[in-house]
Protein backbone atom coordinates (compact mmCIF):
# COMPACT_ATOMS: atom_id res chain seq x y z
CA UNK A 1 0.00 0.00 0.00
CA UNK A 2 2.64 2.44 1.12
CA UNK A 3 4.95 1.68 -1.76
CA UNK A 4 2.27 2.35 -4.31
CA UNK A 5 1.73 5.81 -2.82
CA UNK A 6 5.48 6.41 -2.98
CA UNK A 7 5.85 5.61 -6.64
CA UNK A 8 2.76 7.57 -7.40
CA UNK A 9 4.23 10.72 -5.89
CA UNK A 10 7.75 10.19 -7.09
CA UNK A 11 6.70 9.91 -10.70
CA UNK A 12 4.84 13.22 -10.69
CA UNK A 13 7.08 15.88 -12.19
CA UNK A 14 5.57 18.66 -10.04
CA UNK A 15 6.38 16.67 -6.94
CA UNK A 16 10.04 16.24 -7.79
CA UNK A 17 11.05 18.54 -4.94
CA UNK A 18 9.11 16.39 -2.56
CA UNK A 19 10.93 13.20 -3.42
CA UNK A 20 13.60 14.26 -0.93
CA UNK A 21 11.06 13.79 1.84
CA UNK A 22 11.18 10.05 1.21
CA UNK A 23 14.29 10.06 3.35
CA UNK A 24 12.54 11.55 6.44
CA UNK A 25 11.14 9.12 9.05
CA UNK A 26 8.37 6.99 7.61
CA UNK A 27 5.54 7.96 9.95
CA UNK A 28 5.90 11.69 9.40
CA UNK A 29 6.32 11.54 5.65
CA UNK A 30 3.46 9.14 5.06
CA UNK A 31 0.96 11.26 7.03
CA UNK A 32 2.18 14.29 5.13
CA UNK A 33 1.77 12.49 1.92
CA UNK A 34 -1.68 11.29 2.79
CA UNK A 35 -2.68 14.87 3.63
CA UNK A 36 -1.38 15.91 0.24
CA UNK A 37 -3.32 13.25 -1.54
CA UNK A 38 -6.49 14.35 0.26
CA UNK A 39 -5.81 17.84 -0.98
CA UNK A 40 -5.34 16.46 -4.47
CA UNK A 41 -8.65 14.66 -4.29
CA UNK A 42 -10.29 17.90 -3.20
CA UNK A 43 -8.63 19.79 -6.06
CA UNK A 44 -9.80 17.12 -8.46
CA UNK A 45 -13.37 17.53 -7.18
CA UNK A 46 -13.23 21.31 -7.47
CA UNK A 47 -11.96 20.99 -11.02
CA UNK A 48 -14.70 18.56 -11.98
CA UNK A 49 -17.39 20.76 -10.42
CA UNK A 50 -16.07 23.79 -12.28
CA UNK A 51 -16.30 21.92 -15.55
CA UNK A 52 -19.87 20.85 -14.84
CA UNK A 53 -20.90 24.38 -13.86
CA UNK A 54 -19.38 25.87 -17.01
CA UNK A 55 -21.05 23.23 -19.15
CA UNK A 56 -24.42 23.79 -17.50
CA UNK A 57 -23.99 27.55 -17.88
CA UNK A 58 -23.80 27.06 -21.65
CA UNK A 59 -27.08 25.19 -21.71
CA UNK A 60 -28.66 27.71 -19.34
CA UNK A 61 -27.50 30.58 -21.52
CA UNK A 62 -29.17 29.25 -24.67
CA UNK A 63 -32.33 28.30 -22.76
CA UNK A 64 -32.29 31.75 -21.16
CA UNK A 65 -32.09 33.49 -24.52
CA UNK A 66 -34.98 31.44 -25.81
CA UNK A 67 -37.10 32.08 -22.70
CA UNK A 68 -36.38 35.83 -22.85
CA UNK A 69 -37.45 35.87 -26.49
CA UNK A 70 -40.64 33.99 -25.66
CA UNK A 71 -41.54 36.19 -22.64
CA UNK A 72 -40.79 39.43 -24.40
CA UNK A 73 -42.86 38.47 -27.42
CA UNK A 74 -45.98 37.32 -25.49
CA UNK A 75 -47.61 40.69 -26.04
CA UNK A 76 -47.25 40.35 -29.80
CA UNK A 77 -48.18 36.66 -29.80
CA UNK A 78 -51.42 37.56 -27.94
CA UNK A 79 -52.34 40.39 -30.29
CA UNK A 80 -51.40 38.80 -33.65
CA UNK A 81 -51.72 35.08 -32.89
CA UNK A 82 -50.47 32.56 -35.42
CA UNK A 83 -51.46 34.93 -38.22
CA UNK A 84 -48.18 36.67 -37.44
CA UNK A 85 -46.37 34.00 -39.44
CA UNK A 86 -48.33 34.38 -42.66
CA UNK A 87 -49.67 37.91 -42.33
CA UNK A 88 -48.56 39.78 -45.45
CA UNK A 89 -48.77 43.31 -44.04
CA UNK A 90 -46.31 44.91 -41.64
CA UNK A 91 -47.71 48.27 -40.59
CA UNK A 92 -46.49 49.43 -37.18
CA UNK A 93 -48.64 52.60 -37.34
CA UNK A 94 -51.85 50.59 -37.45
CA UNK A 95 -50.38 47.85 -35.25
CA UNK A 96 -50.67 45.20 -37.97
CA UNK A 97 -47.78 42.82 -37.79
CA UNK A 98 -47.34 40.10 -40.39
CA UNK A 99 -43.86 38.61 -40.67
CA UNK A 100 -44.37 36.70 -43.93
CA UNK A 101 -42.44 39.15 -46.17
CA UNK A 102 -39.42 38.95 -43.87
CA UNK A 103 -39.49 35.17 -43.43
CA UNK A 104 -39.69 34.92 -47.22
CA UNK A 105 -36.89 37.48 -47.59
CA UNK A 106 -34.65 35.59 -45.18
CA UNK A 107 -35.17 32.21 -46.83
CA UNK A 108 -34.88 33.68 -50.32
CA UNK A 109 -31.60 35.54 -49.69
CA UNK A 110 -30.07 32.64 -47.74
CA UNK A 111 -30.85 29.84 -50.18
CA UNK A 112 -29.98 31.98 -53.18
CA UNK A 113 -26.67 32.82 -51.48
CA UNK A 114 -26.11 29.12 -50.84
CA UNK A 115 -26.78 28.27 -54.48
CA UNK A 116 -24.27 30.89 -55.61
CA UNK A 117 -21.60 29.98 -53.06
CA UNK A 118 -21.65 26.16 -53.25
CA UNK A 119 -19.81 25.85 -56.59
CA UNK A 120 -17.12 28.21 -55.31
CA UNK A 121 -16.69 26.60 -51.91
CA UNK A 122 -16.60 23.09 -53.39
CA UNK A 123 -14.12 24.21 -56.02
CA UNK A 124 -11.86 25.70 -53.35
CA UNK A 125 -12.27 22.58 -51.19
CA UNK A 126 -11.36 20.20 -54.02
CA UNK A 127 -8.52 22.41 -55.26
CA UNK A 128 -6.91 22.68 -51.82
CA UNK A 129 -7.85 19.23 -50.55
CA UNK A 130 -6.95 17.11 -53.57
CA UNK A 131 -5.26 18.95 -56.41
CA UNK A 132 -2.77 21.28 -54.76
CA UNK A 133 -2.53 20.75 -51.00
CA UNK A 134 0.92 22.37 -50.78
CA UNK A 135 2.84 25.29 -52.24
CA UNK A 136 2.76 29.06 -52.07
CA UNK A 137 -0.35 29.59 -54.15
CA UNK A 138 -2.52 27.06 -52.27
CA UNK A 139 -1.34 28.65 -49.02
CA UNK A 140 -2.22 32.10 -50.30
CA UNK A 141 -5.63 30.87 -51.44
CA UNK A 142 -6.29 29.11 -48.14
CA UNK A 143 -5.41 32.18 -46.10
CA UNK A 144 -7.37 34.49 -48.36
CA UNK A 145 -10.48 32.36 -48.16
CA UNK A 146 -10.16 32.21 -44.38
CA UNK A 147 -9.73 35.98 -44.33
CA UNK A 148 -13.11 36.35 -46.06
CA UNK A 149 -14.67 35.08 -42.85
CA UNK A 150 -12.68 37.55 -40.75
CA UNK A 151 -13.70 40.75 -42.57
CA UNK A 152 -16.33 42.65 -40.50
CA UNK A 153 -19.73 42.49 -42.17
CA UNK A 154 -20.17 46.27 -42.19
CA UNK A 155 -17.26 46.41 -44.63
CA UNK A 156 -19.09 44.00 -46.93
CA UNK A 157 -22.06 46.34 -46.64
CA UNK A 158 -19.98 49.33 -47.72
CA UNK A 159 -18.36 47.41 -50.55
CA UNK A 160 -21.79 46.24 -51.65
CA UNK A 161 -23.17 49.78 -51.72
CA UNK A 162 -20.15 51.24 -53.49
CA UNK A 163 -19.34 48.53 -56.01
CA UNK A 164 -21.97 45.82 -56.25
CA UNK A 165 -25.13 47.95 -56.27
CA UNK A 166 -24.10 49.94 -59.42
CA UNK A 167 -23.09 46.73 -61.18
CA UNK A 168 -26.37 45.01 -60.32
CA UNK A 169 -28.25 48.17 -61.36
CA UNK A 170 -26.71 48.21 -64.83
CA UNK A 171 -27.34 44.46 -65.11
CA UNK A 172 -30.97 45.06 -64.19
CA UNK A 173 -31.24 47.78 -66.84
CA UNK A 174 -29.91 45.33 -69.40
CA UNK A 175 -32.36 42.56 -68.62
CA UNK A 176 -35.21 45.07 -68.37
CA UNK A 177 -36.32 44.95 -64.76
CA UNK A 178 -36.71 47.98 -62.53
CA UNK A 179 -33.13 49.17 -61.92
CA UNK A 180 -32.94 49.58 -58.17
CA UNK A 181 -29.64 47.94 -57.48
CA UNK A 182 -30.58 47.31 -53.88
CA UNK A 183 -32.50 44.11 -53.22
CA UNK A 184 -32.71 40.38 -52.64
CA UNK A 185 -30.28 39.53 -55.46
CA UNK A 186 -27.58 41.95 -54.30
CA UNK A 187 -27.91 40.69 -50.72
CA UNK A 188 -27.63 37.12 -51.92
CA UNK A 189 -24.37 37.87 -53.74
CA UNK A 190 -22.88 39.58 -50.67
CA UNK A 191 -24.02 36.69 -48.48
CA UNK A 192 -22.62 34.16 -50.94
CA UNK A 193 -19.18 35.74 -50.67
CA UNK A 194 -19.39 35.86 -46.89
CA UNK A 195 -20.34 32.19 -46.46
CA UNK A 196 -17.83 30.64 -48.89
CA UNK A 197 -15.13 30.03 -46.23
CA UNK A 198 -17.38 27.92 -43.99
CA UNK A 199 -18.17 25.21 -46.51
CA UNK A 200 -14.75 25.56 -48.15
CA UNK A 201 -12.55 25.00 -45.12
CA UNK A 202 -14.62 22.17 -43.68
CA UNK A 203 -14.78 20.57 -47.12
CA UNK A 204 -11.03 20.97 -47.57
CA UNK A 205 -10.20 19.17 -44.34
CA UNK A 206 -12.71 16.39 -45.08
CA UNK A 207 -11.28 15.84 -48.56
CA UNK A 208 -7.79 15.86 -47.09
CA UNK A 209 -8.79 13.04 -44.75
CA UNK A 210 -9.91 10.59 -47.46
CA UNK A 211 -7.63 7.55 -47.01
CA UNK A 212 -5.03 7.52 -49.75
CA UNK A 213 -5.36 3.76 -50.21
CA UNK A 214 -8.93 4.24 -51.48
CA UNK A 215 -7.80 6.87 -53.96
CA UNK A 216 -4.94 4.62 -55.07
CA UNK A 217 -7.35 1.73 -55.53
CA UNK A 218 -9.35 3.85 -57.95
CA UNK A 219 -6.25 5.16 -59.76
CA UNK A 220 -4.92 1.61 -60.14
CA UNK A 221 -8.15 0.68 -61.93
CA UNK A 222 -7.52 3.38 -64.52
CA UNK A 223 -9.64 6.14 -63.04
CA UNK A 224 -8.89 9.74 -63.96
CA UNK A 225 -8.59 12.40 -61.30
CA UNK A 226 -12.11 13.63 -61.93
CA UNK A 227 -13.43 10.06 -61.65
CA UNK A 228 -11.59 9.63 -58.36
CA UNK A 229 -13.13 12.87 -57.07
CA UNK A 230 -16.60 11.90 -58.21
CA UNK A 231 -16.61 8.23 -57.26
CA UNK A 232 -14.33 8.05 -54.24
CA UNK A 233 -13.89 11.46 -52.64
CA UNK A 234 -17.46 12.79 -52.89
CA UNK A 235 -19.18 9.63 -51.62
CA UNK A 236 -16.66 9.41 -48.80
CA UNK A 237 -16.96 13.05 -47.73
CA UNK A 238 -20.60 13.83 -48.51
CA UNK A 239 -21.68 14.15 -44.87
CA UNK A 240 -18.80 16.52 -44.15
CA UNK A 241 -19.48 18.58 -47.27
CA UNK A 242 -23.12 18.79 -46.30
CA UNK A 243 -22.23 19.87 -42.78
CA UNK A 244 -20.12 22.66 -44.26
CA UNK A 245 -23.05 23.82 -46.40
CA UNK A 246 -25.17 23.84 -43.26
CA UNK A 247 -22.65 26.02 -41.46
CA UNK A 248 -22.79 28.40 -44.40
CA UNK A 249 -26.58 28.44 -44.29
CA UNK A 250 -26.61 29.18 -40.57
CA UNK A 251 -24.33 32.13 -41.18
CA UNK A 252 -26.43 33.41 -44.08
CA UNK A 253 -29.71 33.21 -42.16
CA UNK A 254 -28.48 35.34 -39.30
CA UNK A 255 -26.29 37.85 -41.12
CA UNK A 256 -27.58 41.32 -40.32
CA UNK A 257 -25.39 44.30 -41.06
CA UNK A 258 -24.28 43.71 -44.65
CA UNK A 259 -27.77 42.60 -45.67
CA UNK A 260 -29.46 45.58 -44.00
CA UNK A 261 -27.24 47.90 -45.99
CA UNK A 262 -27.97 46.48 -49.45
CA UNK A 263 -31.41 44.85 -49.31
CA UNK A 264 -33.43 48.05 -49.81
CA UNK A 265 -35.50 47.77 -46.62
CA UNK A 266 -39.09 47.59 -47.72
CA UNK A 267 -41.83 45.71 -45.92
CA UNK A 268 -43.52 44.65 -49.15
CA UNK A 269 -43.40 41.10 -50.40
CA UNK A 270 -40.60 41.01 -53.01
CA UNK A 271 -42.10 40.53 -56.49
CA UNK A 272 -38.92 39.02 -57.95
CA UNK A 273 -35.39 38.29 -56.80
CA UNK A 274 -34.37 41.71 -58.13
CA UNK A 275 -36.90 43.56 -55.95
CA UNK A 276 -35.95 45.19 -52.66
CA UNK A 277 -37.08 43.45 -49.51
CA UNK A 278 -36.14 42.77 -45.93
CA UNK A 279 -34.93 39.85 -43.87
CA UNK A 280 -35.91 39.14 -40.29
CA UNK A 281 -32.51 40.25 -39.08
CA UNK A 282 -32.49 43.44 -41.15
CA UNK A 283 -35.95 44.47 -39.92
CA UNK A 284 -34.87 44.05 -36.30
CA UNK A 285 -31.72 46.08 -36.92
CA UNK A 286 -33.56 48.81 -38.80
CA UNK A 287 -36.63 49.28 -36.67
CA UNK A 288 -35.49 48.50 -33.14
CA UNK A 289 -34.72 52.11 -32.34
CA UNK A 290 -38.04 53.24 -33.85
CA UNK A 291 -40.20 50.85 -31.84
CA UNK A 292 -42.07 53.46 -29.84
CA UNK A 293 -44.83 51.35 -28.33
CA UNK A 294 -44.79 47.99 -26.49
CA UNK A 295 -46.63 45.91 -29.13
CA UNK A 296 -44.26 47.09 -31.86
CA UNK A 297 -41.23 46.21 -29.74
CA UNK A 298 -42.74 42.86 -28.85
CA UNK A 299 -43.47 42.15 -32.53
CA UNK A 300 -39.80 42.76 -33.37
CA UNK A 301 -38.72 40.44 -30.57
CA UNK A 302 -41.10 37.80 -31.88
CA UNK A 303 -39.32 38.16 -35.20
CA UNK A 304 -36.11 37.32 -33.35
CA UNK A 305 -37.82 34.28 -31.85
CA UNK A 306 -38.91 33.09 -35.29
CA UNK A 307 -35.39 33.55 -36.67
CA UNK A 308 -34.02 31.64 -33.69
CA UNK A 309 -36.46 28.77 -34.25
CA UNK A 310 -35.83 28.66 -38.02
CA UNK A 311 -32.10 28.34 -37.33
CA UNK A 312 -32.68 25.63 -34.72
CA UNK A 313 -34.97 23.65 -37.03
CA UNK A 314 -32.57 23.87 -39.98
CA UNK A 315 -29.70 22.78 -37.76
CA UNK A 316 -31.66 19.84 -36.40
CA UNK A 317 -32.79 18.71 -39.84
CA UNK A 318 -29.20 19.07 -41.05
CA UNK A 319 -27.79 17.01 -38.19
CA UNK A 320 -30.34 14.33 -38.98
CA UNK A 321 -29.32 14.29 -42.65
CA UNK A 322 -25.63 14.19 -41.76
CA UNK A 323 -26.35 11.20 -39.50
CA UNK A 324 -28.27 9.52 -42.30
CA UNK A 325 -25.40 10.02 -44.75
CA UNK A 326 -22.85 8.62 -42.33
CA UNK A 327 -24.91 5.55 -41.45
CA UNK A 328 -25.29 4.58 -45.07
Amino acid sequence: MKSSVDTNLATRPSESGRVVSLKTPDTVSSTKRIKRSFRQIRAENVFRRTLIIVALAMVALVLGIMLTLIFQSTLSIKSSGLGYLWGKTWDPVRDIFGAYPFILGTLLTSFLALAISIPFSFAVAVFLGEYYPQGWFPNLLKNTVELIAAVPSVIYGFWGLAVLVPIVRSFETKIGVEPVGLGIFTSAIILAIMVIPYAASLGRSMIHMVPSNLKEAAYSLGATRWEVIRSVIFPYTKSGLFAGVLLSLGRALGETMAVTMVIGNTSLIPKSIFAPGNTMASVIANEFTEADHPVYLSALIELGLVLFLVTVVINMVGKRLVGKFTNE
Binding site: Q134, L214, E216, Y219, S220, L221, G222, T224, S231
Partner: protein
Amino acid sequence: MESTIVKSVDYNAYFGDNHVVKNVNIDIPRNNVIAVMGPSGCGKTTFLRGINRMHELIPGATAKGKIMLNAEDVMEMHPIFVRLKIGMVFQRPNPFPNLSIYDNVIAGYKLNGIKLPKAEKDRIVEHSLTRVALWKEVKDSLTKKGSFLSGGQQQRLCIARAVAMEPEVLLFDEPTSALDPISTSTVEELFHELKKNYTLIIVTHNMQQAARVSDKTAFFYMGELVEYDETKQMFTNPKDTRTQNYITGRFS
Protein backbone atom coordinates in the same frame (compact mmCIF):
# COMPACT_ATOMS: atom_id res chain seq x y z
CA MET B 1 12.01 -19.88 -74.58
CA GLU B 2 9.32 -17.86 -72.78
CA SER B 3 8.33 -14.52 -74.23
CA THR B 4 9.03 -11.35 -72.32
CA ILE B 5 6.01 -9.29 -71.31
CA VAL B 6 7.54 -6.55 -69.16
CA LYS B 7 11.03 -5.25 -69.60
CA SER B 8 12.63 -2.31 -67.86
CA VAL B 9 15.51 -0.49 -69.47
CA ASP B 10 17.70 1.76 -67.32
CA TYR B 11 14.76 2.58 -65.07
CA ASN B 12 15.40 5.22 -62.41
CA ALA B 13 12.95 6.62 -59.88
CA TYR B 14 13.27 9.63 -57.60
CA PHE B 15 11.45 11.33 -54.76
CA GLY B 16 12.63 14.89 -55.23
CA ASP B 17 16.43 14.59 -55.05
CA ASN B 18 16.29 11.19 -53.44
CA HIS B 19 17.38 8.53 -55.95
CA VAL B 20 15.34 5.49 -54.87
CA VAL B 21 15.54 3.12 -57.82
CA LYS B 22 18.86 2.99 -59.66
CA ASN B 23 19.28 1.82 -63.23
CA VAL B 24 17.12 -1.26 -63.09
CA ASN B 25 17.19 -3.60 -66.10
CA ILE B 26 14.92 -6.59 -65.82
CA ASP B 27 13.10 -8.98 -68.17
CA ILE B 28 9.86 -10.45 -66.93
CA PRO B 29 8.57 -13.53 -68.77
CA ARG B 30 4.89 -14.03 -69.49
CA ASN B 31 2.76 -16.24 -67.19
CA ASN B 32 5.34 -16.33 -64.46
CA VAL B 33 5.28 -15.32 -60.83
CA ILE B 34 8.09 -12.91 -60.07
CA ALA B 35 8.95 -12.17 -56.46
CA VAL B 36 10.64 -8.88 -55.70
CA MET B 37 12.33 -8.93 -52.31
CA GLY B 38 14.78 -6.90 -50.32
CA PRO B 39 15.12 -5.01 -47.03
CA SER B 40 12.91 -2.05 -46.15
CA GLY B 41 13.69 1.05 -48.16
CA CYS B 42 15.44 -0.84 -50.95
CA GLY B 43 13.16 0.61 -53.62
CA LYS B 44 11.22 -2.55 -54.40
CA THR B 45 7.79 -1.01 -53.86
CA THR B 46 8.77 2.15 -55.74
CA PHE B 47 9.90 0.00 -58.67
CA LEU B 48 6.61 -1.91 -58.60
CA ARG B 49 4.61 1.32 -58.53
CA GLY B 50 6.69 2.56 -61.44
CA ILE B 51 5.51 -0.28 -63.64
CA ASN B 52 1.91 1.00 -63.73
CA ARG B 53 2.86 4.67 -63.31
CA MET B 54 1.44 4.90 -59.78
CA HIS B 55 4.78 6.22 -58.58
CA GLU B 56 4.28 9.60 -60.18
CA LEU B 57 1.01 10.22 -58.28
CA ILE B 58 3.09 11.22 -55.27
CA PRO B 59 3.99 14.92 -55.39
CA GLY B 60 7.67 15.39 -56.26
CA ALA B 61 8.12 11.85 -57.59
CA THR B 62 9.77 11.46 -60.99
CA ALA B 63 11.12 8.61 -63.10
CA LYS B 64 13.47 8.08 -66.04
CA GLY B 65 14.11 5.19 -68.37
CA LYS B 66 11.86 2.78 -70.17
CA ILE B 67 9.39 0.18 -69.06
CA MET B 68 8.28 -1.89 -72.02
CA LEU B 69 4.94 -3.67 -71.92
CA ASN B 70 5.07 -6.00 -74.91
CA ALA B 71 6.34 -3.59 -77.57
CA GLU B 72 5.05 -0.36 -76.02
CA ASP B 73 6.86 1.94 -73.63
CA VAL B 74 4.69 2.46 -70.57
CA MET B 75 6.38 5.79 -69.93
CA GLU B 76 5.09 7.08 -73.28
CA MET B 77 1.55 5.78 -72.84
CA HIS B 78 -1.25 7.59 -71.05
CA PRO B 79 -1.23 6.36 -67.43
CA ILE B 80 -4.95 5.50 -67.63
CA PHE B 81 -4.32 2.93 -70.39
CA VAL B 82 -1.28 1.59 -68.60
CA ARG B 83 -3.35 0.92 -65.49
CA LEU B 84 -6.07 -0.79 -67.46
CA LYS B 85 -3.48 -3.26 -68.74
CA ILE B 86 -1.53 -3.58 -65.49
CA GLY B 87 -3.68 -4.17 -62.42
CA MET B 88 -2.58 -3.65 -58.85
CA VAL B 89 -3.31 -5.09 -55.41
CA PHE B 90 -2.19 -3.19 -52.33
CA GLN B 91 -0.73 -3.98 -48.95
CA ARG B 92 -3.93 -3.35 -47.00
CA PRO B 93 -7.19 -4.64 -48.43
CA ASN B 94 -8.95 -1.53 -49.76
CA PRO B 95 -12.41 -2.38 -51.07
CA PHE B 96 -14.57 0.72 -51.61
CA PRO B 97 -16.50 0.96 -48.33
CA ASN B 98 -19.56 2.57 -49.91
CA LEU B 99 -19.99 -0.11 -52.59
CA SER B 100 -21.48 -3.61 -52.41
CA ILE B 101 -19.37 -6.69 -53.11
CA TYR B 102 -20.89 -6.85 -56.59
CA ASP B 103 -20.17 -3.20 -57.33
CA ASN B 104 -16.65 -3.52 -55.95
CA VAL B 105 -15.83 -6.20 -58.50
CA ILE B 106 -17.02 -4.08 -61.43
CA ALA B 107 -15.76 -0.83 -59.88
CA GLY B 108 -13.15 -0.49 -62.62
CA TYR B 109 -15.83 -0.42 -65.31
CA LYS B 110 -17.97 2.00 -63.31
CA LEU B 111 -15.01 4.33 -62.65
CA ASN B 112 -14.12 4.40 -66.32
CA GLY B 113 -17.72 5.08 -67.30
CA ILE B 114 -18.06 1.82 -69.24
CA LYS B 115 -21.72 0.80 -69.47
CA LEU B 116 -22.32 -2.93 -69.64
CA PRO B 117 -25.52 -4.95 -69.98
CA LYS B 118 -26.65 -6.62 -66.75
CA ALA B 119 -25.93 -10.14 -68.03
CA GLU B 120 -22.39 -9.15 -68.96
CA LYS B 121 -21.81 -7.59 -65.54
CA ASP B 122 -23.15 -10.73 -63.84
CA ARG B 123 -20.81 -12.82 -65.92
CA ILE B 124 -17.77 -10.68 -65.07
CA VAL B 125 -18.61 -10.67 -61.36
CA GLU B 126 -19.07 -14.44 -61.20
CA HIS B 127 -16.02 -15.12 -63.35
CA SER B 128 -13.75 -12.78 -61.37
CA LEU B 129 -14.92 -13.99 -57.98
CA THR B 130 -14.49 -17.59 -59.11
CA ARG B 131 -10.94 -16.82 -60.23
CA VAL B 132 -10.08 -15.67 -56.70
CA ALA B 133 -11.96 -18.57 -55.04
CA LEU B 134 -14.42 -16.22 -53.40
CA TRP B 135 -17.57 -16.94 -55.41
CA LYS B 136 -18.83 -19.80 -53.21
CA GLU B 137 -18.33 -17.76 -50.05
CA VAL B 138 -20.09 -14.58 -51.17
CA LYS B 139 -22.54 -15.57 -53.92
CA ASP B 140 -25.49 -15.13 -51.54
CA SER B 141 -24.36 -11.79 -50.14
CA LEU B 142 -23.31 -9.88 -53.25
CA THR B 143 -25.39 -6.87 -52.24
CA LYS B 144 -23.67 -6.53 -48.88
CA LYS B 145 -20.92 -3.97 -48.41
CA GLY B 146 -17.37 -5.05 -49.17
CA SER B 147 -16.27 -4.04 -45.70
CA PHE B 148 -18.52 -6.76 -44.27
CA LEU B 149 -16.00 -9.43 -45.34
CA SER B 150 -13.01 -10.66 -43.34
CA GLY B 151 -9.55 -9.24 -44.07
CA GLY B 152 -8.51 -12.20 -46.22
CA GLN B 153 -11.80 -12.15 -48.14
CA GLN B 154 -11.45 -8.38 -48.66
CA GLN B 155 -8.01 -8.90 -50.15
CA ARG B 156 -9.36 -11.57 -52.50
CA LEU B 157 -12.15 -9.16 -53.41
CA CYS B 158 -9.50 -6.58 -54.30
CA ILE B 159 -7.73 -9.16 -56.47
CA ALA B 160 -11.08 -9.93 -58.15
CA ARG B 161 -11.55 -6.19 -58.74
CA ALA B 162 -8.18 -6.07 -60.52
CA VAL B 163 -8.83 -9.33 -62.41
CA ALA B 164 -12.23 -8.08 -63.63
CA MET B 165 -10.49 -5.56 -65.88
CA GLU B 166 -8.72 -8.45 -67.65
CA PRO B 167 -5.24 -6.94 -67.38
CA GLU B 168 -2.13 -8.63 -68.70
CA VAL B 169 -0.02 -8.08 -65.62
CA LEU B 170 -0.97 -8.03 -61.95
CA LEU B 171 1.18 -6.17 -59.45
CA PHE B 172 1.02 -7.11 -55.77
CA ASP B 173 2.50 -4.81 -53.14
CA GLU B 174 3.08 -7.01 -50.07
CA PRO B 175 -0.39 -8.47 -50.53
CA THR B 176 -0.39 -10.68 -47.45
CA SER B 177 1.43 -8.54 -44.91
CA ALA B 178 -1.87 -7.47 -43.30
CA LEU B 179 -3.37 -10.97 -43.33
CA ASP B 180 -3.43 -13.90 -40.90
CA PRO B 181 -1.54 -17.12 -41.81
CA ILE B 182 -4.60 -18.98 -43.11
CA SER B 183 -5.72 -16.12 -45.35
CA THR B 184 -2.10 -15.78 -46.47
CA SER B 185 -1.94 -19.38 -47.65
CA THR B 186 -5.27 -19.01 -49.46
CA VAL B 187 -3.92 -16.00 -51.34
CA GLU B 188 -0.65 -17.80 -52.08
CA GLU B 189 -2.55 -20.74 -53.59
CA LEU B 190 -4.32 -18.23 -55.79
CA PHE B 191 -1.05 -17.11 -57.32
CA HIS B 192 -0.56 -20.55 -58.85
CA GLU B 193 -4.00 -20.37 -60.43
CA LEU B 194 -3.71 -16.76 -61.57
CA LYS B 195 -0.41 -17.21 -63.38
CA LYS B 196 -2.14 -19.36 -65.98
CA ASN B 197 -3.80 -16.21 -67.31
CA TYR B 198 -1.70 -13.35 -66.03
CA THR B 199 1.85 -12.38 -65.21
CA LEU B 200 2.28 -11.72 -61.51
CA ILE B 201 4.85 -9.43 -59.94
CA ILE B 202 4.82 -9.67 -56.16
CA VAL B 203 6.73 -7.45 -53.78
CA THR B 204 7.24 -9.31 -50.55
CA HIS B 205 9.00 -8.85 -47.28
CA ASN B 206 8.75 -12.50 -46.59
CA MET B 207 11.53 -14.67 -48.01
CA GLN B 208 9.66 -17.91 -47.38
CA GLN B 209 6.79 -16.51 -49.40
CA ALA B 210 9.10 -15.59 -52.25
CA ALA B 211 10.53 -19.11 -52.18
CA ARG B 212 7.09 -20.74 -52.03
CA VAL B 213 5.24 -18.86 -54.75
CA SER B 214 7.63 -17.51 -57.33
CA ASP B 215 9.31 -18.82 -60.48
CA LYS B 216 11.90 -16.08 -60.52
CA THR B 217 13.13 -13.76 -57.80
CA ALA B 218 14.62 -10.30 -57.97
CA PHE B 219 16.67 -9.04 -55.04
CA PHE B 220 16.83 -5.28 -54.52
CA TYR B 221 19.30 -3.58 -52.24
CA MET B 222 19.83 0.16 -51.76
CA GLY B 223 17.85 0.92 -54.91
CA GLU B 224 19.80 -1.48 -57.13
CA LEU B 225 18.72 -4.74 -58.65
CA VAL B 226 21.46 -6.92 -57.18
CA GLU B 227 20.45 -10.29 -58.49
CA TYR B 228 17.68 -11.72 -60.64
CA ASP B 229 17.43 -15.43 -61.26
CA GLU B 230 15.34 -18.57 -61.06
CA THR B 231 13.99 -18.74 -57.52
CA LYS B 232 15.54 -22.16 -56.84
CA GLN B 233 18.89 -20.98 -58.04
CA MET B 234 18.67 -17.81 -56.00
CA PHE B 235 17.85 -19.53 -52.74
CA THR B 236 20.26 -22.44 -53.09
CA ASN B 237 23.17 -20.81 -54.81
CA PRO B 238 23.11 -16.99 -54.79
CA LYS B 239 25.83 -15.36 -56.83
CA ASP B 240 26.15 -12.09 -54.96
CA THR B 241 27.38 -11.92 -51.36
CA ARG B 242 24.70 -9.33 -50.53
CA THR B 243 21.98 -11.75 -51.63
CA GLN B 244 23.63 -14.49 -49.63
CA ASN B 245 23.78 -12.28 -46.55
CA TYR B 246 20.13 -11.35 -46.93
CA ILE B 247 18.93 -14.90 -47.44
CA THR B 248 20.91 -16.23 -44.53
CA GLY B 249 19.43 -13.48 -42.37
CA ARG B 250 22.57 -11.48 -41.73
CA PHE B 251 20.54 -8.33 -42.35
CA SER B 252 16.89 -7.74 -42.99
